[in-house]
Amino acid sequence: MIDTIEKEENLISEEEAAQYDRQIRLWGLDAQKRLRGSRVLLVGLRGLGAEVAKNLILAGVKGLTLLDHEQVTEKSRRAQFLIPVDADGQNQAQASLERAQLLNPMVEVKADIDAVESKLDDFFFQFDAVCLTRCSKDLMVRVDQLCASRNIKVFCGDVYGYHGYMFSDLGQEHHYVEEKPKVVKGSNEANDGPEAKKPKVDPNETTMVKKTVSFCSLKAALEVDWTNEKAKNSLKRIPVDYFLLQVLLKFRTDKGRDPQPDSFAEDSQLLLQIRDDVLETMGLSSELLPNTFVSYCFSEMAPVCAVVGGVLGQEIVKALSQRDAPHRNFFFFDGLKGSGVVDYFGSK
């Protein structure tokens, strides 16, 4: 006897049913089928990129394109687990390809060695979702804008030392379903006390509820106006990581790279300078982001890549499968505190 649920429409093979069993039991067959039809572009194959690649490939997307123009160095190789030890000098995406493919032969994994800046608009249109890591702010804003018009889901993420973030733009109208326990009408038995007031929930029966949610662009999310009163009042509850991100993105734009341990002294100085400039431009005090931040944002911490890559990977899975409420629209992780926060920035 084969599981009838799978054989019904003959849309899932026995191999898939066996391999994906434990996740189908979590998010359902429908979600798995949608994943199975999705193509994803992943830009950047360092620590965070490798984690996202692993998570998406294991989840069973149709295709994943790994795009990275950089060459493998000893340092970049030690930051992730897909590149073989003898691959120094090769292209990073190319070097990661074989091990990535072995994670799940049922996914079409490809490598692209071009620089993402050199890609024309319609390159992106072949994907259902795009995930950008290690990209400049301008590039991310551009890609986000052109994808929005095509209902392509856009994700951005980076890890800086102990800190990491993820951003998503799922478009103006993202539809999804949530599974909720079925509420059954109360029975006729005379129930006294508080029990009578509660609707009876049958723990074994569930129902799917359809929902819709909207997201703003990355541009809007990064260009929030902090000078008005309302914004100023909300500052107390804003994760400071948002401002840290602005500083680090500016560093990346100005220097063409991220802060390096080798130039710790010089880069720390620059970071503090940029912090002052960025916050001043926003009309905010430098004290919002205390000096200590410089000690903890160099290089990529492997465990932080794992955490951010896990959350980011799952958000991409959710968006593609259209199941469960997406985090809206930023996730910030502070590896020193162990806290992970979801917050919305931009036009509501």
Partner: protein, 620 residues
Amino acid sequence: MAQLVGPLRKELADSLSSCRVLVVGAGGIGCELLKNLVLTGFKNIEVIDLDTIDVSNLNRQFLFQKKHVGKSKAQVAKESVLRFCPSANITAYHDSIMNPDYNVEFFRNFQLVMNALDNRAARNHVNRMCLAADIPLIESGTAGYLGQVTVIKKGQTECYECQPKPTQKTFPGCTIRNTPSEPIHCIVWAKYLFNQLFGEEDADQEVSPDTADPEVAWNPADAAARATASNKDGDIKRVSTKEWARSTGYDPVKLFNKLFKDDIMYLLTMDKLWKKRKAPLPLDWTEIHQLGVFGYIENYVKTLRSQLIEKGEGAELVWDKDDPPAMDFVTAAANLRMNVFSMNMKSRFDVKSMAGNIIPAIATTNAVIAGLIVLEALKTLNSDFDQCRTIFLNKQPNPRKKLLVPCALDPPNPNCFVCASKPEVTVKLNVHKTIVQALQDKILKEKLGMVAPDVQIEDGKGTILISSEEGETEANNNKFLSDFGIRNGSRLQADDFLQDYTLLVNLIHSEELEKDVEFEVVGDAPDKAPAPNVPEEGKNIANGNKDSAQPSTSSKAAEDDDVLIVDSDEEPSSSTMETSPESSNRKRKHHDADTDDAASKRKRLDQQPADDDEDIIALD
């Protein structure tokens, strides 16, 4: 300014390359953890796992490929890691951590132990070994989208057993045998049936109608009627199910008629049961094929019968959810019974989840948790225990926007029956009905987590009741406790030398225990029902779908990654309220530094379905 080696300060980076760590488990969390450890700079890692690789592991245990199915997880994990980090010094053990070879001295080799387990027994054991060796332990668990990490340090934090944890719920015999009301009851019945017919017969797994059901209110006048109804095929009451089945040659038609017709008719004569319940409807063999695929039960019986014959004289089959004929049989038998009791039938997929206690699992949850484990590990290596936290991973952010919720660690429970300086526990049982074997296996081992107990009676003579040396006290096994002069108020000293653990057991004699209950540990959490298969955030997923330490591929095991009590809880608690026996969760006082308003707390309660109330931390 500090010197950095990559993202870490130099001193920390140096201590990483010299320290030795132990990873217990190479499954979902273990694979991710090993990867994180080597990429972070840990050099000396030992990993132990008794299990072998299964195809259903491949959606998340990324160090394994299809070609590795059947091989040792620990071994293959080591090989895969060495491929991207050849300089790592990894030792792999394909073994059980509960093997006495891994004694306190073994544990003392390490600066840190990290659990990546899926069962309570092993967690309890490692907890005790780490206490005995005084080594910090990082404990973790995942289930579905939820996960949790915590740090255990002797004398500074709670140990794993400081708070009582609910055990896997078992259903009363009469519910399984007479009055099932949910599919799970029928599924449990079908598993019992499998064992009674093909496997190891167990007196606790009866499938025939239970005449001792207190609800029946036995009326002597009915006795004759009952006796006749049950006597169709010999006196069922005197012959074991297996013997009877064998005597019929496992004839599917005879089996079917007994189980789904005659026994049901017998139940109908116990009319008091059906005054407020819908009465069961006996099935007829001729109708069976109208019940779709479950009607093919005769095929499954025949297949299992052949398997049994192949194995030879006195053979027994072992239940395994991954053995198709066994699974087919249980699915069919359960559904036929659901049909009899007017329940909506369940697909094989769903029956497998329930019968196999499968916990759904994905890569990303394990990836996040394993990342958090390493971050906590870095703090423990620095002995920054005041920086360590329990961190919960939720499915959705809480009202304070937190998806990952760090909470301060609690100090040890001074009355903990494991880590207190003189641990003590009180057990209620019937001294005239409890045999020594039951004390050893069900109470000391299963319930109280000992592996190889030695027990003396505190009777002034130090009478030895149980010796961990094989054979020494075998003669005592079937004697009752009262035979040794044990009575109400007696005390036993139980030692587990491997765990370096001495426990004083106070006994209270009781003749009023609930039906099917052999003993009660006083101050215990109540049994929890198995979680429904749709995990929702904040729901208390049971601490043990797996109570035993058998590998996943063995029949006795339940399944996959276990999880600690997952509380949808708030940030730093400055104190813990006492655990009341009524609650299965720890209750925490909330000190919300940011908003401190009751409204947001009430809002969270409203978001949960009503039934979950007992699972949420009460917010006063």
